[in-house]
């Protein structure tokens, strides 16, 4: 919670504990995301990144701790209330509804948009011309990268105040990963606040502003992406670190395989 000036914090998580049965997935996590920031959660599989995103979104219930969203305590809010209040998520594994069309997927993203939902969808489609072309195609026929773009587009339809993105690079080729993360960076450029969870630290740190490294459900390290990138100890300890060498060779071991 160091670099934070608390005034414009969109999201503040304090001492959050979550468990599944006997497994303690989060043990007192603290993070903050400010307006217009692109923040990344790093850490290996099982570090608690996805659990944290799901707890923020009200999918998992916190045992202890507080989630504040736009200055309000939303710790035990239902997901639908949070989405209606401007939180929006790209779920892990994309969560595309494969049997529905691209358009229907986008319309579901607009479930809580009360006014001019169609205009919002059109606006998002302008940003993703590829989806515009395939709007009446069923979403399951898109490639992995296109499905990921659709999941992002669907989350944008509601003009979210906070966009949560869970592991978008899983199962995608390195070039496509760059395209997806590049898209998020562009969104950040138009002042979209983003909280990303990503195993592929090397790539994520190229695009985000700030990062938190989670380890076994606790905060391990935090800092700007430049700091984290240069910190060799962090690299070694948490981010699959033997690859202080150039990135190409080891990416596939971190989930970049097609």
């Amino acid at each position: 919670m160091s670099s934070a000036t608390s005034a414009q914090a969109i999201l503040r998580v304090s001492d959050l504990w979550v468990s599944y049965g006997h497994i303690q997935a989060l043990r007192g996590i603290n993070i903050e995301v400010h307006e217009g920031e692109f923040v990344v959660l790093l850490g290996s599989n099982g570090a608690g990144k996805s659990t944290l995103l799901n707890a923020i979104l009200g999918v998992h219930t916190a045992e202890r701790g507080v989630v504040e969203y736009m200055g309000r305590d939303v710790t035990r809010q239902k997901t639908e209330k949070l989405v209606a209040a401007g939180m929006s998520a790209v779920p892990e594994g994309r969560g595309i509804l494969a049997d529905m069309t691209v358009m229907e997927n986008l319309q579901l993203g607009a479930y809580h948009v009360k006014h001019k939902a169609n205009e919002q969808i059109e606006k998002v489609l302008e940003r993703f011309p590829l989806l515009m072309e395939r709007r009446s195609q069923s979403a399951g026929t898109l490639s992995g990268g296109q499905q990921q773009l659709l999941a992002i587009a669907r989350a944008l339809v509601s003009s979210p105040k906070l966009l949560l993105v869970d592991e978008p690079s899983i199962g995608l080729a390195p070039l496509v990963v760059d395209e997806i993360l590049g898209t998020l960076a562009e969104l950040k450029g138009s002042n979209q606040t983003i909280l990303l969870s990503e195993q592929n630290a090397k790539k994520a740190l190229q695009y985000a502003d700030r990062g938190y490294v989670l380890h076994l459900g606790t905060n391990a390290v935090e800092g700007t992406c430049a700091e984290l990138r240069c910190d060799l100890d962090v690299q070694r300890a948490y981010l699959g670190g033997s690859d202080a060498a150039p990135e190409s060779g080891t990416i596939s071991s971190q989930g970049g395989e097609k």
Partner: protein, 291 residues
């Protein structure tokens, strides 16, 4: 020849009623993955309540029809909370038992409290006064025409609702992937209630159509239609709306043929036999997909 044609028409009429029962049952499978054995019993109770309203209002048809519709909607929605917690825990087998319980209770209520358990007859005016329509060699009642027309209209409206409206899409999304639907902010409880409400409207419509075409209602009606509904749902493939429709009309025609051309008692055994062969051959049902 004209007997054959008459049986085909009868079959289509019975098939339309089966189709709506299967559609409602399948809708609940889609909405909540609940196999609602008591769905046909809700139709039966709604008819009984409608009969009560008719006999207390001097056979006022509007009151009778509206009562059946409202009873169908209300009772179907009232059963939703019985399943919700189980479905949230993915205890689907348990929901089957709860549905069975609903069926037994509704059957008992009607056989104890309605007309001393004696079958209740609807006034003739409800099914067009027995007037006939002649078309060449065949003739049929106005009630037959209403049943088929309303059946088709109900299917069209249901398809429109599911594919063209916000709530319909939400129901389909919830059916396809509950976790993702919840992440998208689609409320689990409310969406389920919408689905049950639509199934309830269908139950009410079926109640009216059965009152018109059968002309009476008794407690056993629930069981006999529930069993047929279940067979058809399995036959077509669980939750497959289109397959259910086709199978229902097909079964309606086959049944009226069997009743006429086979010794009556065999028709049920034939259907269960066909079902078992289909299940052996395609466990996912005739129209079901493999996954």
């Amino acid at each position: 020849m004209s007997v054959f044609a008459a049986q085909v028409i009868n079959g289509i009429v019975i098939g339309s009623i089966y189709a709506l029962i299967v559609l409602g049952t399948n809708l609940l499978v889609v909405v909540r993955q609940v196999v609602h054995f008591g769905y046909a019993h809700i139709v039966m109770v709604s008819m009984a309540i409608g009969w009560l309203a008719l006999s207390h209002t001097g056979e006022n048809l509007v009151v009778g029809i509206v009562t059946i519709l409202l009873a169908g909607i209300a009772i179907t929605i009232l059963t939703e909370p019985l399943f919700r917690r189980l479905v949230e825990r993915k205890s689907f087998l348990e929901t089957v038992i709860v549905a069975q319980g609903v069926a037994i209770i509704l059957t008992d209520v009607v056989s104890h409290f309605f007309n001393k358990g004696v079958p209740m007859s609807f006034p003739q005016s409800l099914y067009g006064g027995g007037g006939m329509v002649r078309l060449g060699l065949v003739s049929f009642t106005w009630a037959n025409v209403y049943v088929v027309a309303v059946g088709i209209l109900a299917v069209v409206l249901l398809v429109y609702f599911l594919y063209r409206t916000r709530q319909g899409r939400a129901i389909r999304a919830m059916a396809q992937n509950t976790e993702v639907a919840r992440v998208l902010g689609i409320p689990f409880g409310k969406t389920g209630i919408y689905g049950f409400a639509v199934a309830g409207i269908l139950a009410g419509i079926v109640g009216v159509l059965m009152a018109m075409s059968i002309g009476s209602v008794s407690a056993e009606l629930g069981d006999s239609y529930a069993v047929k509904g279940m067979i058809l749902v399995l036959f077509a493939g669980m939750g497959n709306l289109k397959g259910g429709l086709i199978s229902a009309v097909f079964m309606g025609i086959a049944e009226s043929m069997a009743i006429y051309y086979l010794p009556g008692r065999w028709s049920q055994a034939v259907f269960f036999g066909v079902l078992m062969l289909v299940i052996l051959w395609r466990p996912q049902g005739l129209f079901g997909s493999r996954t």
